[in-house]
């Protein structure tokens, strides 16, 4: 099967004298490499310059709120079941009277934790969620952690802040680069 038309037939024919001298080929090869010396370099100097990785980059998790600011998650546990790394755990609770402003459904996650050391950023939790509650942001990375007690992210770090809503559209105009929040924004 032919996949590309770049393959070349290998031939084992006798080399001509010019080829046996190697020099013409050597010189043309040197010409090729010296041209690359003056080419524009493709390197992106990573920590200083960051590349836009596209709207489908899977970064920091976020637990969405709806338009009225209510948490969407209903603690159904489907994300935890879907998670191949078993990184998600939660404790469900029933919504009390007067909490309708806070939680969209009658049942909500009182505790929702993701172990970032286990998470492989596969995005299956996002796919599994029937309530569009959990997303992996394309514009922010999970920051580097040094201590083990920093790796479990609770609701305080996962639930979306009202002044920092996350939108993702395909072909998003938000050409945000995934950045570590600690580097770019004052901790909110």
């Amino acid at each position: 099967m032919q996949l590309t038309n770049r393959s070349k037939q290998v031939s084992n024919k006798e080399m001509t004298l010019a080829e046996k001298m190697y020099l013409p080929a050597v010189i043309s090869g040197l010409g090729i490499t010296i041209r690359h010396l003056f080419r524009k370099k493709v390197t992106i100097q990573y920590p200083e310059v960051k590349k836009y990785l596209g709207p489908i980059y899977r970064g920091h998790h976020v637990l969405k709120r709806d338009e009225q600011g209510r948490e969407r998650c209903t603690a159904c546990g489907l994300c935890a079941v879907a998670c191949p790394a078993e990184a998600i755990s939660m404790v469900a609770a029933e919504r009390k009277k007067g909490e309708e402003k806070l939680y969209r459904e009658e049942k909500y996650a009182a505790v929702y934790e993701i172990n970032m050391l286990r998470c492989i950023f596969c995005g299956l939790c996002e796919e599994a969620c029937p309530k569009q509650a959990v997303y992996l942001r394309h514009d922010r990375m999970v920051p580097v952690f040094q201590e083990r007690d920093q790796v479990i992210y609770g609701k305080d770090r996962l639930v979306e802040k009202m002044d920092d809503r996350y939108v993702r559209a395909a072909n998003s105009e938000v050409k945000a680069t995934p950045t570590e929040p600690s580097l770019t924004r004052a901790a909110t």
Binding site: Y22, V26, T33, K41, V42, T43, Q45
Partner: protein
């Protein structure tokens, strides 16, 4: 007075020593930069501005690595190997003339001290002797490691050096015949005018010498003794820490020395066009001592320019050509270079009989014509996409 000359000479040797080490250290940095630029990358740029502290960081890393000696290795030879490599590499730059001379006045008498480790009338022989000792470093190290890969690397290094040293020696016999001396200074002074640089009178000898120099330095495309794809690390598989550092460092020193040697033999050494006019002008305008020293300084800089170009060339070739196969290497050495070098000697000798300096162009032209005809007569190869 002799003491002063001795002291000045000592200072020169010390300075050359330091320069050699610094250049070798920064060649490692240069190598990585050149490699990166030839591959559209940026290369090391984290340690210091533009990564200039990289050699220091490397050396620090080397020092802090575990210095390991395999239990079955022959201990003293194992240590001796890198020492030998380093020693011979450092010794060979002693006879290369880096410039005309430094002049200083003493009791109103001008003394000239040549800018050279030492001037001996068998300089070429000395370099050859020392350089061929260099392979013992590789051989001893490879043998002492008690490892098959190392041993194979060492054997390759030895056989490669034997076969290429002959062609190397023969290729410069033509130069020696033209100069009539083994002294490097005499060879340099012979090339005073631009068109008498040996690269113009001896084009074939130059190509042979250059190729053999690559083989002698174990540089790509002839780096078979340490080829990673076949022999893990070749002769230095078992080495770690600073002993490995010595081997790598010796390679770069060798590269520097061969570049200096090539510039001396074929590119007029410290000579540049209109050197004598510039020197005379400087001496009349600035006085015999300052003017002379300034002229020497210019020569020094020019010479290092040539050396740096060749170091760059070594790297340029390394990142262009793949490694030769072992039989290709041997065929090239024995079946191409040695006969060609002998032919070169004969033709140059015949030319000298009739006072023609450019006789060796004859071979070059014949070869070019032959190559061109063979190329035009060769059947055109069609490139057909592979079907499978």
């Amino acid at each position: 007075m002799d003491l002063t000359v001795l002291i000045v000479r000592g200072i020169i040797i010390l300075v050359l020593f330091v320069i050699t080490l610094v250049i070798a250290a920064y060649s490692t940095y240069g190598e990585r930069k050149v490699a990166a630029f030839l591959q559209d990358r940026l290369g090391p740029n984290r340690a210091g501005p533009w990564g200039l502290m990289q050699p220091l960081a490397d050396a620090g890393k080397m020092f802090f690595k575990e210095d390991f000696i395999p239990s079955q290795a022959s201990k003293w030879l194992f240590i001796l190997g890198p020492c030998l490599a380093m020693l011979t590499a450092l010794m060979s730059s002693a006879v290369i003339p880096f410039g005309d001379s430094i002049r200083f006045a003493w009791n109103n008498i001008n003394y000239d001290v040549t800018l050279q480790g030492t001037e001996i009338n068998i300089g070429v022989l000395y370099i050859f002797g020392v350089v061929s000792l260099g392979v013992y470093g590789v051989m001893v190290g490879g043998w002492a490691s008690n490892n098959k890969f190392s041993l194979l690397g060492a054997i390759r290094a030895a056989s490669q050096n034997i076969s290429y040293e002959i062609a190397l020696g023969l290729s410069i016999i033509a130069i020696l015949m033209m100069t009539g001396s083994l002294s490097l200074r005499a060879i340099v002074n012979e090339q005073a005018s631009f068109f008498e640089w040996n690269v113009f009178t001896q084009p074939l000898g130059f190509v042979i010498f250059l190729t053999c120099a690559f083989a002698e330095c174990n540089r790509t495309p002839f780096d078979l003794p340490e080829c990673e794809t076949e022999l893990v690390g070749g002769y230095h598989t078992e080495y770690s820490s600073m002993k490995l550092g010595f081997y790598l460092f010796a390679e770069y020193i060798n590269m520097f020395v061969s570049s200096a040697f090539i510039s001396t033999l074929y590119f007029g050494g410290f000579h540049y066009p209109f050197m004598n006019e510039v020197g005379a002008a400087l001496e009349t305008s600035l006085g015999a001592v300052t003017g002379h020293n300034l002229a020497t300084a210019i020569q020094f800089v020019i010479f290092f320019g040539k050396i740096f170009f060749f170091i760059f060339f070594f790297m340029w070739v390394r990142w262009t050509l793949p490694r030769f196969r072992y039989d290709q290497l041997m065929n090239l050495g024995w079946k191409m270079f040695i006969p060609l070098a002998i032919l070169n000697v004969i033709v140059t000798g015949a030319g000298l009989l009739f006072n023609i300096k450019y006789a060796s162009w004859l071979i070059a032209i014949v070869m070019i014509v032959l190559a061109a005809t063979s190329m035009s007569r060769a059947p055109k190869r069609e490139i057909v996409p592979q079907q499978s």
